[in-house]
């Protein structure tokens, strides 16, 4: 096992020295295969847990549709109609094969197709989340890099202090503050609601800016902190001293030697941050009155609509897995060394 990894790293080093298409492709494939090998069991376990929730909850569509004082026969009839009289594993298999085909079933409250409902909300949530990630990465990158380049100066201390403050602000506190300042106080942005991008980019951006800002604070803090730490660590490495001695320009040292090696941990944090981002969307969408994915999750959970909740959880797991896959691919491209361990 060890010998093969050592050989692989040699191959990688050659690949970096002479960038060849074949090596890059092979690396991408290797990452894909490894990620899938990790994520298939993850998906199986997670969907099973999700499905088991219904049996544990003891909720039934009959309660929602017929009310509290329904006769036993009526309850039986409704449950049979939903296939709930079958054994547990038969139900699981029905549901799981549906999930594999993209069918998440029908809602208990109104019988609507859950995949469609989630699809409607996902457009809103993904716009906000993508924008939040964009803000988080750009601002976090700038702050982290500035702090690392001007380390132990007043600028570094100011950035570190600012990052510490925003890292302890929960999304809903940020949301309230933003509404106070920009919507109630300055009337710059609408305080609630959503306009699809097809109806004009301007209004669309105006509606998603505040929620995206509220979500982004956490990402900014994490990226900035992680980047500062790893850049400072990279500057202490011998190869940087070597580069200085060889007379390379500071700019070249930063971009070629320091940044490339320091970027990995910050990217990896981004992958870990995504589940929290999806979770926090429940709160921000509630504050900003967006009919998104998180709002749908909250509403159907409060209504006891089990298939809808299951659908939401499956989609959220898929989102997290996909995002992590993308992060891993980028990581493999930027820092080949990160693929040796794991």
């Amino acid at each position: 096992m060890t010998t093969t990894t050592v050989q692989a790293s040699h191959v990688h080093r050659h690949g970096v020295a002479r960038p060849g298409v074949r090596h890059a492709l092979g690396r991408v494939l290797a990452v894909l295969v490894r990620s899938i090998a990790i994520f298939v069991p993850v998906f199986l376990v997670a969907t099973f847990v999700t499905f088991a929730l219904r049996s544990l909850s003891g909720l039934s569509p009959a309660r929602i549709q017929l009310g509290e004082d329904a006769t036993r026969e009526a309850i039986h009839r409704v449950e049979a109609q939903w296939g709930l009289d079958k054994p547990f594993f038969a139900q699981y298999w029905d549901w799981f094969s549906g999930v594999l085909h993209g069918q998440l079933g029908a809602s208990w409250t109104n019988g609507a197709d859950i995949s469609t409902l989630i699809g409607l909300g996902l457009g809103v949530s993904l716009s906000v989340a993508t924008f939040a990630l964009l803000i988080g990465v750009v601002v976090g990158f700038v702050l982290g890099t500035l702090a690392a380049l001007r380390r132990t100066t007043w600028l570094d201390r100011a950035i570190t202090g600012f990052v510490t403050v925003i890292s302890v602000m929960p999304a809903f506190v940020v949301g309230i503050v933003l509404i106070e300042i920009f919507a109630v106080g300055l009337h710059l942005f609408p305080s609630a609601g959503y306009v699809p991008a097809q109806q004009g980019t301007g209004p669309w951006l105006a509606h998603i800016t505040l929620p995206a800002l509220a979500l982004s604070f956490d990402v900014v803090a994490d990226v900035a902190r992680q980047l500062r730490t790893s850049l400072v660590a990279a500057y202490r490495e011998n190869y940087v001293t070597g580069a200085v001695v060889r007379g390379l320009s500071p700019r070249r040292i930063f971009f070629v030697h320091v940044l490339r090696n320091g970027l990995g941990p910050a990217l990896a944090t981004l992958g870990l941050k995504f589940p929290a981002l999806v979770g926090a969307s429940v709160v921000t969408e509630w504050i900003f009155g967006l009919q998104g994915f998180g709002r749908f999750a909250n509403d159907s959970a409060q209504a006891g609509d089990v298939p809808a909740v299951q659908g939401v959880l499956v989609v959220s797991i898929l989102l997290v897995v996909t995002f992590n896959l993308i992060v891993n691919l980028v990581l493999a491209r930027v820092t080949p060394a990160s693929q040796r361990g794991v």
Binding site: I38, F39, P41, V42, V45, A46, L53, R54, L56, S57, L59, T164, V165, S167, V168, M169, P170, A171, F172, V173, I176, V177, I179, E180, V184, G185, L272, P275, A276, V278, G279, A280, V282, V283, W286, I287, G294, A297, N298, A301, Q302, A303, G304, V306, V309, V312, L313, S316, I317, V320, V321, N324
Partner: protein, 296 residues
């Protein structure tokens, strides 16, 4: 360990703030000057001598509601942290010793739990398994446990491969003895750091859930719930969210600060740091004695 934490200013601040919050949680409901549920005609009043923080939209005293609600948040976050500790740390240590099958299964489980958005899951679990914060906090604790699993596993792996443990095993020590004598001491600092971090995370989760009004019966006051009710009256009382928001932020900040301090003072680097500071302080007091009022 405690002495080391207290020797740093940041450690003193963090522990001080957390102690105040803990006291609030213990004594808050007793300290509340008025009945937190009693409504009155003075709705949305400004701060006054009768209502230090004003009243809310139903004329209830905000200070009393804050004090009364502190217990829920603190108890919830502790519950998250302790559940995560038990669920994560024990398999983390055992995964090094119980063979490859156990290791593989627990590693995959940890991967799975990391992939689940815990706030979403907490919302789902509360709604489906009954309206109680306790269950939700247990589930959230289980979902954040991979942090403890990884941290304790990494520390255990480092110890298990060290020479003195090998020597102990060769001279006939049992695994249980090695874990108790050597592994425990190495794992404890990293677990303490993770615990402090998780308390902060748990605090944010509890506040978010109570903000959404999930897991709590409506008239009962919580910090998150106070913020949510303020949201509807921002144009009348723009300053109202300030105090509950500050309380939440200061608590989370103190928990993070404690985690950072713990990381700084634990291990060999920590011992060096403390000794260095002590030497500095000694030298300074000595030079003060000799020069009496020199340049510094």
């Amino acid at each position: 360990m405690m002495r080391r934490i207290l020797s740093l200013t940041s450690g003193r601040i963090a522990l001080g703030v957390l102690a105040v919050i803990a006291l609030l949680a213990l004594l808050g409901p007793l300290l509340a000057p008025q009945d937190p549920l009693a409504t009155s005609g003075h709705t949305l009043a400004n701060p006054s001598s009768a209502h230090w923080l004003g009243t809310d939209n139903l004329g209830r005293d905000v200070l009393s509601r804050l004090l009364d609600g502190s217990r829920v948040s603190v108890a919830g976050s502790l519950e998250v942290a302790l559940t995560a500790l038990v669920v994560g740390a024990i398999p983390g240590i055992l995964s090094v010793y119980l063979g490859r099958a156990f290791e593989w299964v627990t590693l995959r489980l940890a991967d799975t739990l990391v992939a689940l958005p815990f706030l979403l899951f907490a919302v789902a679990v509360i709604a489906l398994l009954g309206n109680g914060l306790t269950q939700a906090m247990l589930v959230t604790g289980a979902l954040v446990s991979p942090l403890f699993y990884r941290v304790s596993r990494a520390a255990t792996l480092a110890v298990a491969r060290s020479q003195y443990v090998e020597a102990a095993l060769i001279s006939g020590a049992s695994i249980g003895w090695v874990v108790r004598r050597h592994v425990w001491a190495k794992v404890l600092p990293s677990i303490a750091v993770a615990l402090a971090q998780t308390i902060g995370v748990g605090f944010i989760i509890v506040s978010s859930l109570t903000f959404l009004g999930i897991g709590i019966q409506p008239p009962k006051p919580t910090w998150g719930g106070l913020l949510a009710s303020d949201l509807g009256y921002l144009s009348y009382q723009p300053w109202a969210p300030l105090v509950p928001a500050l309380l939440i932020m200061v608590t989370v900040w103190a928990a993070n600060l404690l985690a950072d301090t713990l990381r700084d003072v634990s291990g060999e680097a920590g011992r060096a740091l403390i000794n260095n500071r002590k030497a500095h302080a000694d030298r300074r007091s000595k030079s003060d004695l000799v020069t009496t009022g020199g340049a510094r």
